[in-house]
């Protein structure tokens, strides 16, 4: 029996039982399409995480204060912030190979007040290079510059959302904004020199809802951010590295410098590169992706059982046909081929339809479904299509084999006598 006849015979059998064939393949269709859709959502989540972290800027290393647990030079109770602006300056002055820029920032909650509005903001004290490190976009005016830092000026740059809320009708440039901190005990008047472009929510600092002032102004005006040694506490030291820099080596060098400077043996700070963060988040998202795929895989397995069930019924129903085919010269292996091929055709057709359906639905839902701030994105991985099709093919092979074996074992005489 050649391939062409096999194909014709199996298509004939499928065509003769259209409704049943459709219902049988439905299990595979649903299984395959859900594998594709859920994998696409999982991969979409992975991509979302990467995009979000990349939005922070590129090639970044973050240093955050940890809590010193040993009584060092400045340890005290072991709970003080342990990172200072001077730490950043030392790192910068060390001229470590591969580092392009170093900046420190200090942020805390504050109220931004105009004559008509009063809203909560995150106030960030920073330096001019922060803008380029994070890849901030300037909508109007300019960012904090070297001059501002040097002169400890009272200039301020507004995040996109803040600017819209405080000055809904006209340009904020040149306008005055009052910043109130520590529950109104400290109030400054700032002049707006720039407005940032819209950024969207990002990991770390929400740039749209932040305002930026020179870090030196903070240092000079707000005494409580200085620790007992006279250095200025910061929340973050952000280091931008060059594209081909050895980040691990840089991290080791910085760790060494800070350990010596802080005179401690265990780090009282946390140093992480952007790649570490992406890796960790990506790991979580990949597990999510696998879990989703696994759940969909179960429905695919159920679909496979459906195919096997129908093939068994089909063998019983067509006992007589099998007898006739045997009587006119079909060998056992001809019968096996016929039924395996039929199952393969059913499951592969189901697989193909399922892939098309899965792809269409993935495209349709991409970015159209949201829960709170989380929007479902889908990313189709070519290998998920290949895997889905191969699995449905294997299911056809497996679920067709046993019924086909049963069919071939039928005694032709008994099969012919079967009414």
């Amino acid at each position: 029996m050649n391939l062409k006849d096999l194909v014709l015979v199996s298509l004939g059998a499928i065509n003769a039982n259209k409704l049943r064939s459709l219902l049988t393949t439905l299990g595979i269709i649903i299984g395959v399409s859900s594998v594709i859709i859920l994998m696409a959502i999982g991969q979409g989540a992975v991509k979302g995480v990467i995009d979000e972290l990349s939005a922070l800027g590129t090639n970044l290393i973050f240093i955050e204060p940890g809590f010193s647990e040993q009584g060092g030079q400045r340890g005290g109770a072991g709970s003080a912030l342990s990172l200072t602006r001077e730490d950043g300056e030392v790192i910068n002055d060390a001229q470590i190979e591969g580092i392009s820029q170093v900046t420190s920032l200090f942020d805390f909650e504050a109220q931004a007040i105009t004559s008509s509005n009063n809203i909560g903001v995150k106030m960030v004290g920073t330096e001019f290079m922060y803008s380029s490190i994070r890849g901030l976009i300037i909508d109007e005016g300019r960012f904090i510059d070297e001059n501002d830092v040097e002169k400890k000026s009272l200039n301020i740059v507004l995040g996109h959302t803040i600017a819209q809320k405080l000055f809904p009708d006209d340009s904020p440039i040149g306008k005055n904004v009052r910043i109130s901190i520590a529950g109104g005990r400290i109030i400054f008047n700032f002049r707006v020199v720039g407005v940032l472009g819209e950024r969207g929510a990002a990991v770390g600092i929400d740039d749209d809802n932040a305002v930026y002032i020179p870090v030196s102004t903070l240092q000079a005006r707000i005494s409580f951010i200085r620790n007992p040694t006279g250095e200025t506490n910061v929340n973050n030291i952000v280091i931008q590295t060059m594209d081909d820099a050895d980040e691990d080596a840089i991290k080791r060098t910085i760790t060494q410098i800070l350990l010596e400077r802080h005179n401690v043996s265990d780090p009282d700070f946390i140093i992480e590169s952007q790649k570490d963060l992406i890796g960790a988040e990506q790991g979580i998202a990949n597990i999510l992706s696998l879990l989703l795929g696994g759940i969909a895989g179960i429905s695919l397995a159920v679909g496979g059982i459906g195919v096997m069930n129908i093939m068994l019924v089909s063998v019983t129903e067509r006992t007589r046909e099998i007898g006739i085919r045997r009587a006119v010269g079909a060998t056992k292996s001809d019968i096996v081929k016929q039924f395996v091929w039929e199952a393969l055709t059913l499951s592969s057709l189901g697989g193909l339809i399922g892939i098309l359906l899965g792809l269409s639905i993935s495209f349709i839902i991409d970015g159209r479904i949201s829960f709170d701030e989380f929007t479902v994105r889908t990313v189709i991985q070519p290998w998920s299509i290949v895997i889905a099709f191969m699995v449905s093919f294997m299911i056809g092979l497996l679920s067709g084999s046993y019924p086909a074996y049963r069919a071939s074992r039928l005694d032709p005489i008994l099969a012919l006598r079967n009414e």
């Binding site: 029996m1 004939g12 009587a327 006119v328 005489i413």
Partner: protein
């Protein structure tokens, strides 16, 4: 052509062993038109199944053209069955979905023979159904369906056609027509035709009648 030596067939069931054939010896030459007669339970269907390589004897030897059938594998027997034998059944045994032409093509599929449509059409022409090629069984009369099944048995150019009660489901007149078709095969194609029947009317068409009773040949004679 066909040679049976001391063929026995015992069906073993849990309750008892049924001795369906007891020491059957038989020779049939090429081009003979033979009928096998007997009551139901006499073993005639068992004998036909063994002749057609659909079943194996429990004991004894069966030679077709000097080949010992017992020594063949299942696949070899399937191949031999397809090449040497054509089958005609009481209930036609046609596949309900296929056209007459496709029914007749079926045995050729399993032998990878070329020009299948042409050969199938020729076989249908022999049985007088050249104008019914596209009809499916439910559109054909009983006699026509039986002719399709005869055409199917002919298409492989078999040496032997085995017909199990070929007229059993037909009225007398149609039955005669079908027997006439079989008789012509013997005469014109030199095919050995073996008809199993319980009707002496049918047996009269043949040249030789073998009478079976209780698994044994009790009479074997030429007609007229």
């Amino acid at each position: 052509m066909i040679e049976l030596k001391d063929i026995e067939k015992i069906y073993r069931t849990e309750a008892e062993d049924v001795h369906a054939l007891k020491s059957v010896n038989l020779n049939i030459a090429q081009g003979e038109f033979v009928s096998i007669m007997g009551q139901s339970g006499s073993g005639k269907t068992t004998l036909m199944n063994i002749l057609g390589c659909l079943d194996n004897p429990t004991a004894g030897e069966y030679f077709i053209q000097k080949t010992n059938i017992a020594k063949l594998t299942d696949d070899q027997r399937s191949l031999l069955r397809g090449k040497l034998f054509g089958f005609v059944f009481q209930s036609y045994n046609l596949l309900p979905r296929l056209s007459a032409l496709s029914q007749v093509e079926l045995p050729l599929i399993y032998q990878d023979i070329k020009d299948r449509k042409l050969r199938a059409a020729k076989a249908l022409d022999i049985v007088g159904l050249i104008d019914r090629l596209d009809f499916i069984p439910s559109q054909l009369s009983g006699g026509q369906q039986q002719r399709v099944s005869i055409a199917r048995s002919l298409v492989v150019e078999p040496r032997v056609v085995l017909a199990d009660e070929p007229t059993g489901a037909l009225d007398v007149k149609t039955g005669r027509e079908v027997m006439g078709v079989l008789k012509d095969l013997v005469k014109e194609q030199n095919i050995t035709v073996i008809v199993v029947t319980h009707e002496s009317e049918v047996a009269k068409f043949t040249e030789r009648t073998i009478q079976l009773s209780d698994g044994e040949i009790i009479r074997d004679r030429k007609n007229r």
